[in-house]
Every structure is written in C-alpha cells, then in structure tokens.
C-alpha cells in the first residue's frame, strides 16, 4: 500500500457478526480501501450428511441449515424431490405452505430490523421489534407446534392442516401487525439518526447488483424487479397477486442504499400480510398430502430416478435446492444454494469507500446467513491447510473432468 493504510481484521468472532465469518479490511484513516472476504468458518458438511439419509430424513436436516430460514430450505427441498419423483402436491397443501413461508418472512424481516437497529447502536428499537416478533412466533407455534424448525413440510404436502379453529388466531396476528406496522415505519423511516446512518451508505448500483447476481431484497432495493414469486410462480403463488417490491413504491426513486433496503423489507412485511389474507380467503378444501403412508412414499422415492430443482423466494432471496435421485434409498446429489451465497460479493462494492463505522450495518444490510451460505471448504488432509480455488482453477478442473468422461 502506498499510503499509510493498516489492516483491521473483523471476525471470525466479532460483536457485529452474528455468525462466524472473516473479513480483512485495509483501512486508511477511517476509510475502507480494500475488502477481503474469507468465508468457510461455519461449514458443517450438511450436504454430505444429507447423502447418508433418505429424502424424508433430509427434510429435517434442511430445516436445520439455518434457524431463521427453517421454512425456506425444506420448502425448496420438498419441491426439488417432488420435481424429481413427479409427485403432485394437493392444492390445499400448497396454500398451507405459502402461509407458513409468508409468516416466516414476517418474522425474518422483523428480526432483521432489530439486528440492523442494534448494529446502529439503537438498542431501544431492537427491543421494540423483537417484542413485536414474538407474536408471529407464537402463531407459528400454535399452527405447527414449534416456534422455529416448524417440522410441517413433507414430500408431497404438509403434515398439519390449518383448520377453521385456526383462522381467528391467524387473523388476530395479522391485525396486530397492521397496528404495529405504522409504528415500525415511523421509527425506521422518520428517525433522524437512522436516516443519518443509512441514507447514501452502502450503495449497490443496479449495474453492480445485476453483475453480481444479487437476489432478494438486496437486489430489489437496487431497483431490480426480481422475485421468483412473481417471475416463476410456484405453489399457490400463481393464484395470488405478488409484485416485486422496489423502494420507489414509497419514495419514488431508487438509491440502492441501506435506507432503501429497510423500505423494501418493511413493505414486504405488509405484502406478506396481504398474501396470507388472500390465502385464508381462497384456501380450497381437500387433502393436505399426496401420500399419507410414509413407508409407501419412501418406496416410491426409492424407485424414482431423475433430477429435480426446487426454488423458493426466501426472506433473503432466491433459495435453490437440487436433488438427483438414482433408484436408491439415498439421494445421489443434494445441493443447497442459499441466497446469501449470491449476495456475498455485493459487500465489496458496498463497503469500499465507506467508513469503519459503516461496516456492521452494511454487513447486516444484506441480511447475511453465513450458516446457509457456507457450503464449501477446501482442506488438504495431509497438511491440514486450506486452499482456495479461483474461477480459472475451477474451469480448468471441469474441462479436465469433461475430457475424462467423454473420450
């Protein structure tokens, strides 16, 4: 470095990070000159574990990839298996899946709002939002039996029905959030100190968002109307009206800064409430699962052969699961790609040129889920050292493999 810059490591463990991840910063004064991301501290070998289990067991493993996305991963995984084995999901089950997924979105976004406030040093809002989040968790417990890790998804449907007795309780929660939304909007969008810290900070331009394949609220806050619920509707979303939300819906312009990301997430809470209301109104009657007997279902899956992809718009963005079944009890391949994996590199353009004080909120602004994202770590067993393969190396390796299998 030509100037007098110094390096500040943040992570693997740091108060601003909720999960282990390493950042190496080159700092000049208070300004960030260079960022190096070094993920891989939270790799647990979940995909490998999955390949030792049958598809029904994997649902519960997928649920535990991450506590907050505990509906998104099984949702995408079940769709992938259904896609591979050609299982048709009853319509009622699709609606129930959507209701659970949208409730999860409400709780995830409110949780994020609290974390963001804490990163800004505004702990009062952290307590306000997390108290508000309890209501949806209570509802989820009432509907599924668990506050998180709901255990409601099953290949071919869902495990529990939402009956008439449940409806008033759901409506009560939705009313509660309609009431509290005005307060949340007021504290986040009208507070002068929050505006000082978030406006024109951590900007991700539309071009950068496209180039780095950003997904979810991160992309939408940069003005990209990208939402799988809108673009390739799945489950019950095809019957519902879902529009990708961009910040210009509220302010009339797109900046791509953290303030816009707050707006997008707040508006998505409202959108989720509307989706759930539509679901409750239009939910058809019928079965909730394609095959009730699990032994029979397992036998059916054992005979299935093929590949399947499941996609779900998780609260953080598009979550993709890929499954390959090969006429055996265990799936041959299971690949989970969480939204944070795409959003990871958007940190670099957001952070460069910002101050040290912006690091926590910029990192939090994409709502990172390191546990979801860490799928690969490269370790040399002989000397215990980690090594990194860049894009060129991977390309070379894949060319070699193609030559090997196609002589």
């Amino acid at each position: 470095m030509s100037k007098m810059s110094y390096s500040v490591p943040i992570g693997p463990v740091h108060p601003s990070l909720k999960e282990p991840m390493t950042f190496n910063f080159e700092i000049y004064g208070e300004r960030i000159e260079k960022v190096n991301l070094a993920p891989g501290d939270n790799h647990r070998g979940i995909e490998f574990m999955g390949r030792q289990r049958n598809p029904i067991q994997i649902i519960y493993l997928a649920e535990r990839i991450c506590g907050i996305c505990s509906a998104s991963h099984p949702f995408a995984f079940c769709q992938a298996v259904e896609n591979a084995a050609g299982i048709e999901v009853p319509e009622r089950a699709q609606y129930i899946r959507v209701i659970i997924a949208e409730l999860e979105r409400i709780h995830s976004h409110i949780l994020w709002a609290g974390v963001a406030a804490h990163e800004l040093g505004f702990d009062s809002i952290l307590y306000l939002t997390w108290r508000a989040r309890e209501e949806v968790l209570d509802l989820l417990e009432y509907l599924t039996g668990n506050r998180i890790n709901y255990g409601i998804f099953m290949i071919g449907g869902v495990r529990r029905d939402i009956t008439k007795e449940h409806i008033p309780r759901i409506k009560k929660t939705l009313e509660y959030y309609k009431d509290i939304y005005a307060k949340l909007e007021d504290v986040f969008l009208n507070d002068p100190t929050i505006a000082l810290r978030t406006k024109n900070v951590g900007i991700l331009t539309t071009e950068d968002a496209l180039r780095l394949c950003a997904v979810g609220p991160t992309a939408r806050a940069s003005g990209i109307t990208k939402d799988i619920r809108q673009d390739q509707p799945y489950a019950a979303y095809a019957d519902l009206e879902v529009k990708a939300i961009t910040p210009d819906a509220l302010t009339g312009e797109v900046h791509g800064d953290i303030y816009d990301r707050i707006i997008v997430r707040l508006l998505e809470v409202v959108q989720s409430i509307q989706i759930i209301e539509q679901c409750i109104e239009n939910i058809p009657s019928g079965e909730i699962i394609a095959e009730k007997k699990l032994v029979k279902l397992l036998n059916q899956l054992k005979k299935a052969k093929g590949e399947g992809i499941g996609r779900h718009e998780a609260p953080r963005g598009e979550c993709i699961h890929y499954v390959k079944l090969n006429e055996s009890e265990l799936p041959e391949v299971w690949k989970a790609r969480a939204p944070t994996y795409n959003n990871l590199m958007t940190w670099v353009p957001m952070l460069i040129g910002q101050q040290i004080a912006d690091i926590p909120i910029v990192i939090a602004s994409i709502d990172p889920c390191i546990a979801c994202m860490d799928r690969v770590t490269i370790l040399n067993k002989d000397n215990g050292q980690k090594s990194i393969l860049a894009k060129e190396d991977l390309h070379k390796l894949s060319v070699q493999k193609t030559r090997r299998i196609t002589p």
Binding site: H118, Y127, R131, T193, Q355, P360
Partner: protein
Amino acid sequence: MTIEGLLIILLKIIGAVIIAFLGVILGLFYKGIDRKLAAKMQARVGPPIRQPFMDFFKLMIKENIVPENAVPWIFNGVPVMTLVATITILFYLPIGNISPLLSGYGDIVLIIYLLTLPAIGMVVGGFASGSPYANVGAQREMVMMMSYELPLVTTVIAIGWKLSQVYPQLNVFSLAVINAHPIWGLVGPLGFVGALLLLITLAIVTPGELSKIPFDVPEAETELAGGLLVEYSGRNLALFSLADAVKTIVMVSLTVALFFPYNIAHLFDLSGIFAIGIDSLFFLVKLLLIMFVEVTFIRVAAARLKIDQVSYAYWVPLSIIGLLGLSLIVLDTIMI
C-alpha cells in the same frame, strides 16, 4: 507551619477520602439507576440496581491481562490516572450549599482541564494496548475531544462573563461563586433565552464527554468491540468503569452547579445540620433528574453517529447554538 495549618491539611485529607469514597459509591449507584431506567424505557426488566457494584467486585477478582504488544507501564498506569483525575474534580464541585472541599485552590477552568485528563488517559491507554480496534478508538476519542471542547468552554465563559459584569469584585470562575448566584436571576428575557441555549449546549456536550450513545464512537460496541477498552480486563477495566461512573456524577453536577444551584432549606426555615441534610438530598434529586435527561433519555432515543457526523454536530450546529447563547447574554447585558 502552625498546628492550625496542619490540622486544616489533615481535615482536607480526611474530607478528600470521604468524598472520593462517597463519589464512587454514588457513581455506581446512579449507574445502576441509569441502567434500570433505560431498561424500563425499552420495556425490559433490566439488571438490579446493585449490578454495577457486583460487576466491579467481579472484575476486581478477574485476571488482569496485559497484551503482548502493549507497553505495560502505560497500559497499567492509565486506568489509575483516569480514576484519580476524575475523583479530583469531585473536590472542586459544590454539593448543595456545602462549598467545595478545595474551594479557593482552583476554579472551573481547572475543572475543564481535569475533564480532558481522563480522555487523554484513555487515548494513551488505547494506543498503548497495541490492538487495531483500540487504535481506531483512540483516534476517534482524540477527534471527539477536539470537537466538544469549544461548546463546553463557550458555556462556561458565557456564565463567567455575565457574573463578572454583575459582580466585578468576585472571583467569577470559582464554582462557589457560580453556585451562589444562579444565572437565571441575573439576566433579562433575552439573556434568559441565551442561558437556555447554553443549557442545551451543555446537555448535548455531556453524553459526548461521557462517551454515551449517540456519541459513543470511541467505544462503539458493534464496530470496535469496545474500542479503547478492548484489551483491558480485570482490575484495569474495573478502574475504568469506576472512572466512568464518577465522571457521570461530575458532568451532571457541573450542569447542576452552572444552571440549577438552587437550594430548598430556606423554604422550610431549617438551619444547621438539617439544612445541610435536606439540601444534599435535594442535590441528589437534581442529579438524578438531570442524569435522566442528559444521559439516560438521550441514549435510549438515538442511534450511534459516525465520527465525522459527531465532529460536525459539535463543531457547526452546537457551536453556533453555544455562541448564539453567549451573544444573546452579551446583548442582554449591553442593552441594560
């Protein structure tokens, strides 16, 4: 030296020990109240009021780690210096109608100098700990120090100048004098507005001086993991937390002495020990109310600012408010 002289010195020493002891206890007690009040405002249960005492005793029995890169004698010396400098200010502050212990040996200008000592101590300690976080924290503390000094001094000078116009024969910078002549009674309507502006200035300087949100950039938990204090542990950290508690009392007492030096004993026709007692109690109530406004309320109602924003806030808007207050008081005096 006469026996009498020695006796006075002895009395002063005993007084100093008592005040230091009471100051520390009061500081920790008020810190507990501050945390409890903040918790109530955030709808939490909050820690018990004796929590700061428990934290202090626990820290005292913890291991004291000096990092490899640190300069040990500076690293260990700074907490002591910070605490001593802070406690020394207590000797210059009037409590109720009791005049300061060291009245006549120093005035408010000395207090302003003493107030910068803990900050300088923390900067030196931060640089001496050899951690990048502490380093950044120390740089920020230096910038903070340079920023809030002007508004603080403006407030003090304005009050001193006004007193010197009304009572030219008195030592106007002595806190005993300031304490005896409240500013509100000396000014006309224009000066009243000016004094109000100065009060606002001091109320906003206080959280900065105490490194509380929104001005807690040198410590910034989520950014610098404690900043200046990141490498401190055990006994040293306990001393820093004591110094912080005492400094809160000092800053709040300064507001009381400058703007609210009223006593209530004469209302009840009390005299002697009762008057001292009731005035001291009233002083404690005033401290609590002002601490609630200046420290607790501000820190639950705002997000942490960035260092450039803090610097700007002190240098431009707050300095202007302070200078406006000063000029209103001057205008008020000239027009009369």
